[in-house]
């Protein structure tokens, strides 16, 4: 008897078959992204930010690109930024990369437990942040450290969090990179995926209900769009026309699951917007100008009460998911270099050089300066301790902030811990 059991179903009908998605390339394969349709820069029209979502459905299947292959800004989406602002964006992206490099190494040296790089997708956080106001509230996922860096948040403070040291503003309670700063308009990061999506919508609804002028922005990976929270957020965002920008970072990989396991074989992630009547844009996520322009467009839409925008940033996760991941075990080794949309830092650098506003020497000097700066910051942060050196917060802090006031059962548990430690002589 064959494996496909003939006892199942009706014998006169063909057996059904289950489709299980499979990525194009596996380790050992040579990656060739021929199937990735890269629309030419500049050809995508730019609708008015007040346009009805129903009139711009094609945008969800297109690709907004500003920088062409030669690094020249073309087309209606060119945000025409000043050379100064372009240099600041470039610098923030380069600093993000230098920071990632340093902290990745710190993890490998045993100074912390965990790290996640954003290599190759720096534009998604950095360029978007420059298109927002500083007090617009960000609800990021775990790979948007570029938001804090673009907001000039002290990198020593970020490192203190990564080291869970005595200067960690989160008292060593969160995994490394799960930053939180209300002052920086950066919401506490959760490890449960896409939970920040409905929260961002709720924050935006509150801002609108209060007649505030601030908007919210949120980020999740393409894999997380499979979560119910994502769909809940889209539902509430469209119903209440919440002033929110919902960014989907399609970096092709959710740990080892490729985008196909989140529905990426069937449609684009921007197209999720269509069913909800939300404006959807699909953007070259490795084009900082396109990311800036799309975010500015969506921000204007939100600020003028025209409602939410869902932006798919089409990009590529050039490194592993985290320090606990081995991408070599599940994907082709040369995918990152073969990625047809290039590297966001290299592309902006080429653009600035083309404008006559930058050169290779200045770029190389900046890289050295940023590496030194990160190194000095690391030294500063390590004065406050590293995770590998053990416990930096007073033990009692473990019981604080569970509630506003400590209830009796936590007081008892705290006192019991104190007594046990005293009896044990520690």
């Amino acid at each position: 008897m064959s494996e496909s059991s003939s006892s199942l179903g009706r014998p006169n009908l063909p057996p059904l078959s289950l489709h299980v998605p499979e990525p194009q390339f596996r380790p050992g394969d040579e990656a060739e992204f021929v199937s990735v349709e890269v629309l030419a820069a500049g050809i995508t029209p730019r609708p008015d930010s007040a346009a009805d979502a129903g009139t711009m459905r094609d945008m969800a299947y297109g690709l907004v690109r500003v920088l062409d292959d030669a690094g020249v800004a073309v087309g209606a989406w060119d945000p025409r930024l000043s050379p100064d602002l372009l240099r600041r964006i470039l610098r923030s992206m380069a600093l993000t990369r230098a920071f990632d490099e340093r902290m990745f190494r710190a993890q490998r040296q045993g100074k912390t437990s965990f790290y996640m790089k954003s290599t190759g997708e720096e534009a998604v956080a950095v360029a978007a942040t420059y298109a927002l106001d500083r007090d617009d509230m960000c609800f990021p996922s775990y790979r948007q450290q570029g938001i804090l860096i673009a907001r000039d948040w002290p990198i020593v403070d970020m490192m203190n969090q990564i080291y869970s040291n005595r200067a960690d503003r989160l008292k060593g309670r969160q995994l490394p990179i799960m930053y939180s700063t209300k002052e920086g308009a950066f919401f506490s990061i959760s490890g449960n995926l896409a939970t920040q999506y409905p929260q961002a919508v709720g924050w935006a609804m509150a801002s609108a209900a209060k007649g505030d002028t601030r908007i919210a922005a949120t980020w999740c990976g393409e894999g997380s769009t499979a979560e119910g929270d994502f769909h809940s957020a889209c539902m509430f965002a469209t119903v209440y026309r919440a002033p929110v920008i919902m960014n989907v970072v399609n970096n092709q990989w959710a740990i080892s699951s490729f985008a196909g396991f989140a529905g990426g074989e069937a449609t684009t992630f921007a197209a999720r917007a269509v069913g909800y009547g939300i404006a959807g844009l699909r953007v070259d996520g490795n084009d900082p100008l396109a990311v800036y322009a799309a975010t500015a467009w969506a921000a204007e839409r939100a600020r003028t009460n025209k409602g939410p925008t869902l932006i798919e940033h089409f990009t590529y996760r050039a490194e592993g998911h985290s320090t606990s991941d081995d991408p070599g075990a599940y994907r082709s080794a040369d995918e990152a270099t073969k990625w047809p949309l290039g590297d966001p830092i290299a592309r902006l650098k080429t653009h600035l050089i083309g404008l006559g506003e930058w050169d290779e020497d200045r770029h190389a000097a900046q890289d050295v300066e940023l590496a030194e700066m990160v190194k000095a910051a690391q030294k500063e942060a390590e004065k406050n301790g590293i995770l590998g050196h053990g416990l930096h917060q007073p033990f009692d802090t473990m019981f604080e902030d569970v509630f506003e006031e400590m209830p009796w059962h936590l007081i008892e548990q705290r006192d019991q811990m104190r007594d046990e430690r005293k009896a044990a002589g520690v």
Binding site: M137, F139, R169, L170, K171, R173, Q174, M178, S180, T181, K182, F187, S188, S190, N192, T195, Y197, P198, Q199, A200, V201, G202, W203, A204, M205, A206, S207, A209, K210, A216, G228, D229, S232, A233, M235, F236, V239, D401, V402, F403, E404, P407, W408, H409
Partner: protein, 334 residues
């Protein structure tokens, strides 16, 4: 005021006093809620402060978390406690932990209201009592009133509290107390001797139990609907029982419990939820730890059975007077 009116009044008072209080949930706006708990609030306070939501519990609680992060005091309603599960992650992983994980930068003054409990022929999906799982989550407070006065005072206290609170409303007693005799006519709250519910602002503090009946022979711990069933049962049986209405399961008023059990030396715990890992297990463990040498009989639990809530056999499932009476006889026999 009946309990619905008291709950409505609590939200009305809070909406009037604090412009940050916002009420949201399915059918709660124009229509005023399936149990009428929010009737008239939208007309009075406006539809940006009292509004209907999609049928999406994850969204209801998730946006409430975002609203609280903004600085509002959202009061989301989950239409039945049985529907809370799609929103559970936003409650237990997010709302409950945000103060802790942000070291106090983001606080979550959310009060999730939800009718719970059985005795209304609601079947498996309109009868559950999921309170224990919330008491298991660090960072959440769980509150359950048993009469109109407490309902209003506790709800105002919950809304004014800066921590996330789950406020379970025993729907069997929305319109009147219930003595456990389902075949007798229901008395409305107006015919029962309970404290008048004041119109304006007052609070009943969270974390404080009420001794609803003093007694010397046995302590009976209950909350919600079961407070009335227990009281009726001990009176019908003529037992000199001390009946304690817990009112808040977390933080728990351990002092009142401990004092009473040490006085009576016997304890029966009654709740509607399934037995295994129910809140009664926690109570029994606490009493064992604190009152062991004062106990004269094993602690008894009277609870729902470890089955889904059966529609047609509801009254066999419900921990009514017969089962409570049996447990009381058992602890009192020595």
């Amino acid at each position: 005021m009946n309990m619905i009116e008291a709950i409505n009044s609590a939200m009305d008072v809070c909406l009037a006093r604090d412009p940050d209080v916002t009420v949201l949930g399915e059918d709660i706006g124009f229509f005023g809620g399936v149990f009428r708990a929010t009737a008239g609030l939208q007309a009075k306070h406006g539809k940006t402060r009292v509004f209907d939501t999609p049928i999406n519990e994850c969204g209801i609680i998730g946006v409430a978390v975002g609203m609280a992060a903004y600085g509002l005091r959202p009061v989301p309603e989950i239409q039945f406690a049985d529907y809370i599960y799609p929103g559970l992650d936003q409650l237990v992983s997010e709302a409950a932990r945000l103060r802790y994980r942000s070291a106090g930068e983001f606080v979550m003054p959310i009060t999730v209201r939800s009718p719970f409990g059985g005795g209304i022929f609601g079947g498996q999906t309109h009868s559950q009592s999921p309170e224990a799982m919330f008491t298991h989550v660090a960072g959440l407070k769980t509150v359950i009133p048993s009469n109109p006065y407490d309902a209003k005072g506790l709800l105002i206290a919950a809304i004014e509290d800066n921590d996330p609170v789950i406020f379970f409303e025993p729907k069997r007693i929305y319109n009147g107390p219930f003595d456990g005799h389902y075949d007798r006519p229901v008395q409305p709250w107006s015919k029962v001797e309970t404290p008048d519910v004041p119109e304006g602002h007052y609070t009943v503090p969270l974390g404080k139990a009420a001794v609803v009946r003093e007694g010397a022979e046995v302590t009976v711990l209950a909350f919600g609907t079961m407070v009335h069933v227990v009281r009726a049962t001990v009176e019908e049986k003529g037992i000199d029982a001390e009946v304690i209405d817990l009112r808040t399961l977390l933080p728990l008023d351990i002092e009142t419990i401990e004092t009473s059990v040490k006085k009576t030396g016997r304890c029966v715990i009654v709740h509607e939820a399934t037995r295994t890992s129910g809140f009664g297990a926690e109570l029994a463990a606490l009493i064992q730890e604190r009152c062991f040498y004062h106990l004269e009989a094993p602690i008894q639990r009277v609870t729902g059975f470890d089955t889904p809530y059966p529609h047609s056999l509801e009254w066999a499932y419900f921990p009514g007077p017969i089962r409570i009476g049996t447990a009381l006889d058992l602890v009192l026999k020595d």
